[in-house]
Symmetry: C2
Subunit: 389 residues, 2 copies
C-alpha cells in the first residue's frame, strides 16, 4: 500500500425529499447565488420549482444560467464567469448531473483567476482559489458531486480535458434517488458504465497489497451489477435507485483509490471519442473499457482473474487463470450489452476513419503516453481503438 | 435504505514516517497545544521524540498531560480541562490509541462548558462547542481517530458511558502502520475484535435494502480476517499492519452505517464488563458478541446466513439456513479464539457472581432497554451474560 492523504469534507444529504433542504444549506454560504442547470427537464419534473421555493424560503437571491449540455462547453463557462463577476456572486448552486456540476466547478475556479479559465484544463495554471459550489444531483454517473474534478470541452478543436483540485469539491451534495425515477433507460445505463468505469480505473493498479480497497471496489461493483437491472425493469424502485446513487458517489469520492494508483487510460481514450462524436461519456466507456482490458490483461493475469472471480462470480479455472481472466472481460461486456449499451464503435454508428486522428490527439502526435497500469503510446491507443471497432 | 446525512472531514495522513508531519499539521490550528498521551511506550519507541521534534520545528509550544489508562478515567479528563483553561490552550494533540483520543475529546468539550464534563456522558448536556483535536494513532482499534465518539469511565461507581457529536471528530489523524509493529499479539487481537465489532454492530440492522453498505461491511471484515493472522505471525509485515490500520478507521468513520441503523447492544453490555473488571474492551467484545448472536439470530436468520456465507465463506445450506447462520457464529468465535482472545467470561477469569449487577446497571434496574436489531430488557441482558459464561 502506498502512502496517501485522504480528506473529503463534502456533506452528503441523502434521501427522499432532501432537495427541500437546499435553501437552508445554501444560505450557510451566501444569500446571492448563481443557479446553474441544463435544459427544461428540471422544469418539467417540478424540481426547479421546489429548488426556487426552498431558496426563497431561506432568503437566498439567485441569478440563473441554464443551457449546460452534455460534454459541457467552455463558451458557457466563460459566460458564467462574466455573469458572476458582474453580479459579485460568490456561490454556485448546480442542479443537474455531472455536466452541470463540472461546468459550475469551472466557473468557480475562473472567477478569481486573471487569465483564461482554459489555462487550468490545458495544464498551464494551478487552481489556487475556488468559490464554493453546492449540488442537487439528478443523474448518478460522473461522481462529480463529491469529487474535485471537472471535465470541459473546448469547442475550438473539440478538446475535452480535465482538472482536479481538492478546492473544487462541492460543499454539499443533495442526493434524492426519487429524482432519478424519470431517467430514461439509456441514460441510466450510461451512468452505470461511468460509475463502474470509475471503480475499474482504480481497480487495475500495479500497487500490491491493497486488500481493503480491492474489496471495497468489488463491493461497489457488485452492488451496481445487482441493482441496475432492477432499476431498468422498475424505474421507480426507490431502493435500487438509492443503491445506484450512493454507489455513484462512493465510486468517485477518492476513498477507493486510497493507497493505490489508478490507470485512467480508458477515460482518456473515451474523451477523444465523445469529444469528436458527442456520444454519451458512459456509452464511450462501455466501448473502450472491454477493448482496453483485452489489450492489457496479460500484464497482470492474476488481477484480471481476481476481477472475474470476485466481481462476476466466475469459477476460478486453476489450470488456466488466463481463461478465467478472459471470461471476466466477457461478463463485463455482456453486462453492458444486457443493459442496452454499445460495446463497439460500430454499435454506436461510429466509423473507423478517424481512429488515427484520435490516437494523435490523445498522445499529442506520439509525444505523450497515457495510463498507469500499462503505459500506452500512440500505437497502443490506436490498437485499442481498432479492437473497439 | 433510510435517509441520512454523512460528512467526515477528518484529514487522514496515512503511511510510513507520516508522524513527522504532525508539527506542520498542528501549526495550522494553534502554536500552543496540550500534548496528551498514555505511559512510557511512546517514549520507549522513540515516537515521543519524533513528535516533539516535529512540533518544535513547526514552532509549536506544548504542555504535557500523560497518564491516560485503558478505559480512560474522568479524573484525568477533569485535570486536563483545568490545565487547558489555566494555560489558554485551544488545541489538543492526542498521541496514542483510542483511550488517549477519547480522553482528549472529553477535555475538548469540557473546556468551554460551565458545568461538569460528565454531564455530556450522563446525557444531561448536549455538546455545543469543542476545541480542535489532532491525532497520531498508535493502536488500530477504537476508530476514534475519525469518529465523533468518546467513551469515558467515571470512577465514582465505575460507570462507562459514551457521547457522540460531529464536533468531536479530529481535524487530522496521522496513521503510520510502522508504529504498530511493536504491539503485542494480545493487544493486536483486542484491537481486531473492536474493529470487527464496530462493523458487526452496523451490519445487524432491521433496515432493508442496504446492499452497498452490507457489501462494504463484508469487504472490511474479510480484509481483517485475511490480514490479522498475518500480522500476528509477522508483526513487522507492513502491508498486513496497513490493511488493519486503514480498516480500523473505515470501520468507525460512519460510512458503514449510511442509510441504516446499527445495533450497539454488544458494546453496551461489554462496557459493563470492562467497567467493572477493567479488561480490554476488545476482549470483552470477543466474549459478548458471539453470545449476543446466539441469543438474537432467530430474529433474522437470513441476515445471519448472509453473514456466514459472504463473510466466512460458509456453504449455504439451502435446506437449513439456520444451520448456515449458526455456523457463521461458530466461525466468528473460532476466529477470535484462533487469534488468542477469550470467548467466554471463564476464559477471562471472570466469575458469574456479578452478572445481575451488570444487567441492573446497564438497564437502570430494568427501566431501560438497549439494542436496535433486537430490543433487550434486563432479563435479556442477563441471559446473554449467562450465555457468555
Amino acid at each position: 500500500m502506498n502512502n496517501f492523504v485522504f480528506q473529503n469534507a463534502t456533506k452528503i444529504i441523502f434521501g427522499k425529499a432532501t432537495e427541500n433542504q437546499v435553501g437552508a444549506e445554501t444560505a450557510k454560504y451566501s444569500k446571492k447565488v448563481l443557479l446553474h442547470y441544463g435544459g427544461g427537464s428540471i422544469k418539467k419534473s417540478g424540481l426547479y420549482d421546489r429548488v426556487i421555493k426552498s431558496l426563497r424560503d431561506a432568503g437566498v437571491e439567485y441569478i440563473e444560467l441554464s443551457g449546460v449540455q452534455p460534454n459541457p462547453r467552455l463558451s458557457l463557462v466563460r459566460e458564467g464567469i462574466e455573469l458572476c463577476r458582474k453580479n459579485n456572486i460568490e456561490f454556485i448552486l448546480a442542479v443537474g448531473g455531472g455536466s452541470v456540476i463540472d461546468s459550475a466547478k469551472a466557473i468557480s475556479i475562473g472567477i478569481h483567476y486573471d487569465g483564461d479559465v482554459w489555462d487550468f484544463y490545458a495544464g498551464k495554471a494551478k487552481v489556487e482559489k475556488a468559490i464554493p459550489v453546492g449540488v442537487v444531483l439528478t443523474i448518478p454517473a460522473a461522481g462529480s458531486e463529491s469529487s474535485g474534478s471537472s471535465v470541459i470541452t473546448n469547442e475550438d478543436g473539440w478538446y475535452k480535458r480535465g482538472v482536479t483540485s481538492v478546492l473544487m469539491r462541492p460543499k454539499f451534495a443533495i442526493l434524492n434517488p426519487e429524482l432519478t425515477f424519470t431517467l430514461p433507460p439509456y441514460q441510466t445505463a450510461c451512468g452505470t458504465a461511468d460509475i463502474m468505469a470509475h471503480i475499474m480505473e482504480r481497480y487495475f493498479t500495479n500497487v500490491k497489497n491493497v486488500d481493503l480497497t480491492d474489496r471495497l471496489c468489488e463491493a461497489t461493483l457488485k452492488t451496481m451489477i445487482k441493482n441496475v437491472p432492477i432499476a431498468l425493469k422498475e424505474p421507480e424502485n426507490y431502493d435500487a435507485r438509492a443503491e445506484i446513487m450512493w454507489a455513484g458517489t462512493i465510486a468517485h469520492n477518492d476513498l477507493l483509490d486510497t493507497g493505490r494508483i489508478g490507470d485512467w487510460a480508458s477515460h482518456d481514450i473515451e474523451h477523444e471519442i465523445s469529444g469528436i462524436y458527442d456520444i454519451a461519456h458512459g456509452a464511450g466507456l462501455a466501448i473502450v473499457f472491454p477493448a482496453w482490458m483485452k489489450y492489457v490483461y496479460k500484464h497482470d493475469i492474476d488481477r484480471f482473474a481476481q476481477f472475474a472471480v470476485r466481481v462476476w462470480n466466475v469459477d476460478m479455472d486453476f489450470a488456466s487463470p488466463e481463461r478465467t481472466a478472459l471470461e471476466g472481460i466477457e461478463r463485463l461486456k455482456g453486462f453492458f450489452r444486457q443493459i442496452g449499451l454499445p460495446v463497439s464503435l460500430r454499435d454506436a454508428n461510429i466509423g473507423d476513419d478517424r481512429l488515427e486522428e484520435m490516437a494523435d490527439k490523445r498522445t499529442d502526435f506520439g509525444k505523450e503516453t497515457i495510463g498507469n497500469f500499462v503505459e500506452l503510446n500512440r500505437e497502443d491507443v490506436l490498437n485499442i481503438l481498432k479492437l473497439a471497432r
